[in-house]
């Protein structure tokens, strides 16, 4: 059955079943990935999938359902299960949105295609280059080249009819270096709208460098140290704690930022933004999953909390308007809150100058356990880390087997310096996160020495 016919069928059934407002959110995607191991294609993946969700208001409550099958039985399932779901809801119904006045118009993207054979060849070159770069590379566990494209459509009974497309091309390589019975892993990633600018040999060399520089890592003494988080790591930390800025978490008491709008919650030099469009990021987001127009805004400006992030429901609760941050994780999920391009404004100093400013301390370039060692409510974190001892403003030697522990709310207050090297992660379910390297002052370090 065609999507348009299916939509008409579901809407007709919804109306007949007594739904007052209703919406269909459709998602479609293709994904390609080739992984090379020992010169052979170890994994070749080519996937096509589509699915849609229904939400509708019944007796003043909102029910949700979804299906990956598009036929008459599925239409019946959507309506019946959304209805039985709505019956147990206590909350007020959600708004089925008629549309914003204006949306950012994206230019039609010209994405250049690359044949599968060429992608495989590039992954092979990448693996070979990693082995060839340094004799201490004993394994290249991942050498992968992939791309995906996606499409979203929203139709509803208030007349909304929106769609957008996205593309991403990426490659990554992991290199494992061994020396004196120590094993270290290094990796690097390329990401773009397409493969323009992808340098497979250069990427392999960087991954190798990231592995071998960690060889000879020593233990570190437990104590308090000034710390700089590398840009990639800082972006991960910002991502973990992004939820404290969501109005719905503030309203339900899951954030400590309640009543803090207009107050100083961070260092003067710290500005945190949420942009619909941003040069260095791959995400361009004209509207959210509720059809509300997205736009560029500061969340923290020079240390002052400017706004929370709202969807339609949390905005209504605070008598304000949505900030265009109502998102679904996938078509299967209900609308909650997520970020657009969420990033720390870069400073004007280079990373080297930041190291000179710190003089002595630790440069952290790896964090593990972000899903378990962080408490999104209290802001506490205690994370396994990798990094370097910094002495006299210069990177000195690698260190391992230590943790960094602190509190995010405290950390943003203590920021002492921000580099100019803004880096964005790949777009993910909760948004696209970016940060330059951050000099965060003193942090508790526990080590094995």
């Amino acid at each position: 059955m065609e999507l348009a016919d299916f939509k008409d069928l579901v809407f007709e059934k919804a109306k007949r079943a007594g739904f007052t407002d209703y919406e269909i959110y459709y998602e479609k995607g293709n994904a390609f990935l080739a992984k090379i191991y020992n010169g052979e294609v170890k994994e070749f993946k080519n996937a096509k999938s589509a699915g849609l969700s229904f939400r509708g208001n019944y007796n003043g409550k909102t029910g949700y359902s979804y299906t990956a099958k598009i036929d008459a039985d599925a239409a019946e399932f959507l309506i019946e299960s959304a209805k039985s779901g709505a019956a147990v809801i206590d909350e007020e119904k959600e708004t089925i949105y008629a549309g914003s006045e204006k949306y950012i118009q994206l230019e039609d993207e010209k994405v250049s295609e690359m044949p599968a054979a060429e992608k495989i060849e590039k992954a092979k070159v990448m693996e070979k280059a990693a082995y060839g770069e340094d004799a201490r590379i004993k394994q290249v566990p991942h050498a992968a080249v992939g791309n995906s494209e996606g499409e979203i459509h929203i139709f509803n009974s208030a007349g909304l009819n929106l769609s957008r497309k996205s593309n991403i091309a990426y490659a990554y390589v992991y290199a494992q270096a061994e020396e004196n019975s120590q094993t270290k892993m290094g990796w690097d990633i390329f990401a773009g709208k397409d493969f323009t600018g992808f340098d497979e040999v250069g990427l392999a060399k960087k991954a190798v460098k990231n592995a071998v520089v960690m060889l000879g890592a020593r233990d570190v003494k437990t104590g308090k140290y000034p710390v700089i988080f590398e840009n990639k790591i800082a972006a991960d930390l910002i991502a973990v704690y992004s939820g404290i800025f969501f109005a719905e978490n503030v309203q339900k008491g899951f954030s400590l930022l309640g009543g803090k709008i207009g107050e100083k919650i961070a260092s003067d030099i710290f500005t945190l933004n949420d942009y619909a469009l941003c040069d260095k990021s791959l995400s361009q987001i004209p509207f959210d999953s509720e059809g509300v127009a997205a736009y560029n805004k500061a969340v923290i400006k020079n240390g002052i909390l400017e706004t929370y992030l709202y969807n339609l429901k949390s905005a209504a609760r605070d008598n304000t308007v949505s900030t265009g941050n109502g998102f679904k994780g996938s078509y299967k999920s209900p609308v909650t809150t997520a970020c657009l391009n969420f990033f720390v404004s870069p400073g004007e100093t280079t990373e080297d100058e930041l190291l000179e400013k710190m003089v002595d301390g630790i440069y952290v370039n790896g964090l593990a356990g972000l899903h378990s060692g962080t408490n999104a409510v209290s802001g506490d974190f205690s994370l396994k880390a990798d990094g370097f001892i910094v002495q006299g403003g210069k990177i000195s030697y690698p260190i391992e087997q230590f943790t960094v522990a602190g509190n995010f709310y405290e950390l943003i207050k203590n920021i002492k310096g921000i580099a100019d090297n803004l880096f964005f992660d790949l777009p993910g379910g909760g948004g696209t996160f970016g940060s330059p390297s951050l000099y965060v002052g003193e942090v508790k370090v526990s080590g094995g020495e």
Partner: protein, 461 residues
């Protein structure tokens, strides 16, 4: 759910360019979930997942494609597209006649999950909320969730395998937050099983609500944990996450076959202290990580991984088995048809030992008692792991002393296994969701109380 003739045609198309082996994994899954925040039912979702993945072995490599359009025309077209990526020119293999795999269902379901049960589920979650709030005025928020899954799966391959199974799982989750003026502490529980609606009906929401409230309040009053190397006693149940992260992932063929595990080439060698016997058992009746057949259609079994410190077995799937010249241990798993399977854990635990719990605590002069653990992660190549202690106490002079919070345990799996020097007899399993190459799969972790002679504790004091 789909005809044998069509699957035969799909597998034939998949082998049309010289692939060694072809397999179809098809699923039709219905899920229901609800969430209750602060006693208010906020979300209720029901959904239907449907699709199939086709895998072709090509030497030591594999091609994987998936689609959710299973009409004959598209299904065969997708199989042909996959075949086009096979690079070897072998003699053509043919698809053997299908033989049904007889499956003995060990996980009996009393009441099949159904969206009409949501009202009762919501009541159970609200009772836990009320119990948490009543326990102590410091409890300020709660959240509760519930999810059930009924999945019909079919696995068929070119060797004539035809295996069908029905998998049913239910899980509830409960969390309480305790707050003072400047801080918040969370405690949670997430019981689950391969059971139907009878599972949530059998939970005691009053007891659960009070238990998590008690932990959150205790942790709110706790001081920051100290950092550094010390002796750590890890309690039973979810404490088993230490074995899961520190060793389990490194024993999966997923990393062993790539030579990216610290336990490569160690078969028959001593990798743990004599006190450690570790098992992965997918056959335990109704347990959350159990499966009758793995996701390659093999009947599951009990795999002894480590016996009295000696490495006895890895966890192996067919493709990695081919790469490392080992037989499958029926350990292939995948989140859904969107993932090619690879070797994964099911119910993985350290077997009971002979030490007493009192004996273990009283043996420690100064150390940490990790009563409840949170999640963790590992890099199998280096064996470096980390995980969070969500409820911890200091041990002083052989007695459990003041509560401490914010501790993380880090180390290398190869070291920690050798440092487990006491194992009690109170084995308990606990539920979790494990994420890795083939997606997120339900698992049990488990252990009796254990003592780790020395490990690095990351804390703020």
């Amino acid at each position: 759910m789909i005809s044998k003739n069509l699957i035969h045609d799909v597998l034939t198309a998949a082998l049309s360019t010289g692939g060694d082996f072809a397999e179809v994994f098809l699923e039709s899954t219905v899920r229901n979930s609800v969430s209750v925040v602060n006693g208010i039912c906020e979300k209720s979702v029901s959904g239907m997942d449907y699709g199939a993945g086709i895998r072709i072995f090509n030497g030591l490599g594999a091609v994987y494609v998936y689609t959710n359009d299973l009409g004959a025309e598209n299904f065969i077209k997708i199989a042909k597209e996959a075949a086009a990526a096979v690079s070897k020119v072998n003699a053509l293999n043919t698809v053997k006649g299908f033989i049904n795999t007889e499956i003995q269902n060990r996980h009996k379901v009393v009441v099949m999950p159904d969206s009409s049960q949501k009202r009762e589920v919501v009541e159970i979650l609200k009772r836990s909320h009320a119990a948490s709030m009543e326990y102590n005025p410091l409890v300020t928020q709660t959240s509760g969730g519930y999810a059930d899954v009924v999945s019909n799966i079919l696995i068929a391959n070119s060797n004539g395998l035809w295996a069908q199974d029905l998998r049913v799982r239910s899980r509830a989750s409960f969390a309480a937050v305790a707050s003072n003026e400047s801080e918040k502490q969370t405690a949670s529980l997430g019981p689950g099983a391969c059971r139907g609606f009878e599972f949530v009906q059998g939970l005691n929401p009053y007891k659960i609500g009070r238990e998590i409230a008690e932990t959150a309040v205790t942790m709110l009053k706790a001081k920051e944990a100290p950092g550094g190397k010390m002796c750590v006693v890890i309690e039973n149940g979810f404490g088993g996450v230490i074995f899961h992260e520190a060793s389990g992932h490194s024993l999966e063929a997923t990393s062993v076959a790539k030579n990216a595990s610290v336990f490569c080439g160690k078969m028959g060698e001593k990798i743990a202290s004599d006190k450690v016997t570790a098992i992965d058992d997918a056959t335990l009746a109704n347990e959350f990580g159990s499966i009758n057949i793995d996701d390659e259609g093999e009947i599951t079994r009990r795999n002894v991984l480590i016996e009295n410190g000696i490495l006895k077995s890895y966890m192996v799937d067919k493709l990695n088995g081919k790469r490392m010249n080992a037989e499958s241990t029926a350990s292939a798993r995948r989140e859904s048809y969107k993932y090619a399977p690879t070797s994964r854990m099911t119910n993985t635990f350290i077997a009971p030992g002979t030490d007493s719990q009192n004996g273990i605590i009283s043996s420690v002069d100064y150390g940490l008692y990790a009563k409840k653990m949170g999640g963790g992660s590992v890099t199998p190549a280096t064996g470096e792991f980390n995980f969070a202690v969500v409820e911890g106490y200091m041990i002083r002079g052989g007695k459990i002393a003041e509560p401490v919070r914010g501790a993380t345990l880090i180390g290398k799996g190869s070291d920690v296994l050798l440092n487990i020097d006491m194992v009690a007899d109170n084995l308990e399993l606990a539920q979790g969701v494990c994420g890795s190459e083939s997606g997120s799969v339900p698992v049990n972790v488990g252990q009796p109380m254990i003592r780790v002679k020395e490990i690095t504790v990351g804390g703020k004091e």
